[in-house]
Every structure is written in C-alpha cells, then in structure tokens.
C-alpha cells in the first residue's frame, strides 16, 4: 500500500487492519513513535495524518492509504520544537515527548497558552508536570 511517510512516497506491505503504530515501528523501523496505553487515552503514539494529530494505536493501516504521515523522525532532530523541549526541560523520561512534539507541531503559529493546553490535553506526561512542556512550546513563536 502506498502512502507518504515523512515526505517520501513509500510502499509498505502490511495487514490492512494492523495498527498504524505497529506498521511504523515494525515494518518501517521508525521506533520514535511510542506505545503507551493502547486505548487512545495517553497520546504517546501521536503522529500526524495529513497534518492532523491522531493516536496511531487506533488507526488501521488501510485508513492512511494515500495520506501523508508525519512521525517524530520526520522532524530530523534539530527542529525548533525539539530543541526547545530539550533546552527547557520539556522532556524527562521521553516516552511522551514524540507525541507531545507532534501535537504541538499541529497547533497554528503563535498559539496562546490556552490553545497549547487544549491542543496537548490528549497527551499525558507523568514526569514534567506539564509546565516545562508549555514553556517549551510557547518559546517557539512560529512553529512551522
């Protein structure tokens, strides 16, 4: 099945009902996407499908046919949001971080604190208490 993965056209063979999460990790070798709860509660497995954050544990592979999927690997490692998370303590154990960064990426430019709180409400973090995450996101004025 063909879809776009981090900007490149790819063709991947997998069961149509396999979780997008498993296809990304096991077929595509992209292990930056983490599994947390497996029921859409924690947001750790968040990826972007056509720019929109979704829980990849709840998306059947067949539903991304022809879509553009962005995982944390697609940001390259020196994206301003990634740097801000690292510099401002927005990441501790790191399991929620890829999902947090991708959810933050989907917010428009210059989000208000309230928009950040609502936009990240589906991403749970057990380490930071969220404040450092909000500071990191707010410090990147125009997330591209």
């Amino acid at each position: 099945m063909e879809f776009r993965l981090n900007g490149a056209e790819v063709e991947v063979e997998a069961h149509p009902l396999a979780r997008l999460l498993d296809v990304l990790r096991e077929e595509c070798g992209l292990t930056g996407t983490k599994e947390g709860c497996g029921e859409g509660e924690c947001g750790a497995c968040t990826v972007l499908v056509d720019g929109v954050p979704v829980c990849s544990c709840l998306v059947p592979f067949a539903q991304v046919r022809g879509a553009a999927v962005t995982t944390i690997e697609g940001l390259g490692g020196d994206h301003p949001l990634q740097l801000a998370f690292a510099e401002l303590g927005g990441a501790q154990c790191g399991i929620c971080t890829p999902g947090m960064v991708l959810a933050a990426l989907s917010l428009g430019p210059n989000p208000t604190l309230e928009e950040v709180r609502v936009g990240l409400a589906g991403n749970l973090c057990r380490c930071t208490g969220y404040e450092a995450i909000y500071r990191a996101v707010m410090s990147v004025p125009a997330a591209p």
């Binding site: 069961h15 149509p16 029921e39 968040t46 979704v54 829980c55 544990c57 539903q63 409400a121």
Partner: protein
C-alpha cells in the same frame, strides 16, 4: 494489540450503495469509521468481531448541512468537524461543548458523532445533547431508508433498534428553541470518561437528559413534567432521583452520581436566562 491480526478481515466499499450491498450479502460486518472505540476493543482483545467494513473513505457520508431548519450531520463528520462548524455553533452550541470534551484532540479528529451514537455507551458525551435536541437517526440499508427518533433508538445497554444490515447515514437535528445547557462532570476535562453528563433546554417546555446514570442515556420526562407544572426544585429533585438508576463502577459510585445529578439539575434551573453554554 491482543487480538490476533491474522484472524481479522476487512472489506473496502467503493460507495455507500456498495457498502449497503456488502452488509446485505456478506453476513455480519462491523462498520469502521474513526475506530476510536473499535480499536480499543481490538487492542484489549475484548471485541469478538473479526469481519469489518471500512467506511472511512466514503466522502458522501461527510459534511454538515443546514436546510429547512434542520441540521444534518453526515455519519463521518468528526467531533472536530462539529466543533469547527459555524452551523453547529449557531444552532446547537451545546453539541459543540460536548464535542470539545470528547477525549483529546486526537480522538476528536477521528471519532464521529454517528460512531458515538452507534457505540451506545451510556457515558457518551454527545448523547444527552441529541436526546434534548430530539434528533433523528437516519438509517439506511439496501432496502431503503428509515428514520428513528433518537429517544427511541436505544433498547437497553449498548442495544439499539438497528439491524445488522443497516448503517447510520446521518443524524438530523431540528431547531431547538430556548436556552441550552451542557455540563460534563468527570475526573478531568479532557480524556476522562464522564461520571455524569447532562444536557438541558429551557424552552417552552423544559427538556433534560442525563448520561452515566442508567444503562442508556435517559430523557427525564417526569422531571420535565414536574418543572413544567411549577414544582419546586426540591420536588423536581425527588422526581429525578426516582428516574435514574446509577451504579457503582470503576469511575464513580451510584451515590455520588445521584447527588451530582441532583446538583446539576438545581444549578441549571437556578441559573438566570439566557443560560451560557459553557465555552467561548
């Protein structure tokens, strides 16, 4: 995922008509839309179904339209679509309020209103809104279409009048007269499943519905009658207490739910009109 993926199969219809033919000819198939409920069951190995039909690509089921005073929500309209819809904001702001409190944005981006209806959880956040708005569920099969009043749609816990060969194609919502009110009481605004959820309309005749206080969402007609006939709030609360059957479960207790339901009734009825709808 605890369900063995190799035991599962899925059909991909080309059109709504094709999907209805598959439902008629292929035996029982579970419809897939945003998968935010179905995949929780698959992930935990608790869903017995193994055969599915994927509706997600059927764009003819998307869209939210208003015509002749009726808001028609296509079966694949997501919670995010509803939150962003100017028609919803103008006509039924409590539906917007409810959709904003379903899961987090990831769930809202994928989960659909029709899926919330089909799933039939007594805790479904949007269901009390559809109950007080007196919505209609539009069902279609290869044999044709029928329209079921939302308040007659459920027959018991997660049981509905739908036949296995039918799909929900739309939810239709008539114009609602009077101040609208919605409150969800849960552990946390985002993600948490409600302990009690209430929608109400202060119109020519009061309308009240509660979720998470019985096996299905409930419309409180006796409580409505009491308030319509001028009963005091204390009297109405006594009527309400007899109309609901909350239980103890992992999220709350029957006693807590009953008390919260009584408190919500009093808070709603005590607010000056026109009531706010809870969010900007």
């Amino acid at each position: 995922m605890r369900t063995s993926i190799s035991t599962l199969s899925v059909l991909h219809p080309r059109s709504l008509d094709h999907a209805l033919e598959l439902l008629r000819d292929e035996g029982t198939l579970v419809p897939l839309a945003g998968c935010t409920d179905v995949y929780v069951g698959l992930n935990f190995g608790t869903l017995p179904a193994t055969r599915f039909v994927d509706l997600w690509g059927l764009d003819e089921l998307r869209g939210i339209e208003a015509a002749d005073g009726v808001l028609r929500v296509g079966a694949l309209a997501t919670h995010t679509d509803l939150v962003r819809s100017p028609e919803v904001r103008a006509r039924l702001p409590i539906l917007r309020d409810a959709c904003r409190e379903v899961g987090g944005v990831q769930i809202q981006n994928r989960g659909t209103l029709a899926g919330n209806v089909a799933n039939g959880s007594p805790a479904g956040d949007t269901l009390p809104v559809l109950a007080v708005a007196e919505a209609t569920v539009v069902l279609r099969s290869a044999d044709g279409e029928r329209r079921v009043p939302f308040n007659g749609f459920y027959t018991g816990y997660r049981a509905t009048v739908m036949r296995p060969d039918e799909l929900i194609v739309a939810i239709e919502i008539p114009a609602v007269e009077g101040g609208q009110w919605f409150r969800k009481v849960g552990t946390r605004a985002a993600q948490a499943i409600s302990k009690v959820v209430m929608a109400a309309v202060r119109g020519p005749r009061p309308r009240i519905a509660l979720g998470s206080v019985g096996p299905t969402v409930v419309r409180l007609s006796a409580t409505e009658d009491a308030l319509a006939s001028g009963a005091s709030i204390a009297e109405a609360q006594r009527v309400l207490a007899d109309e609901i059957t909350p239980i103890d479960d992992v999220r709350s207790t029957a006693d807590y739910r009953r008390q919260v339901a009584l408190n919500l009734l009093a808070r709603w009825w005590g607010e000056p009109e026109p009531t706010a709808t809870g969010s900007a």
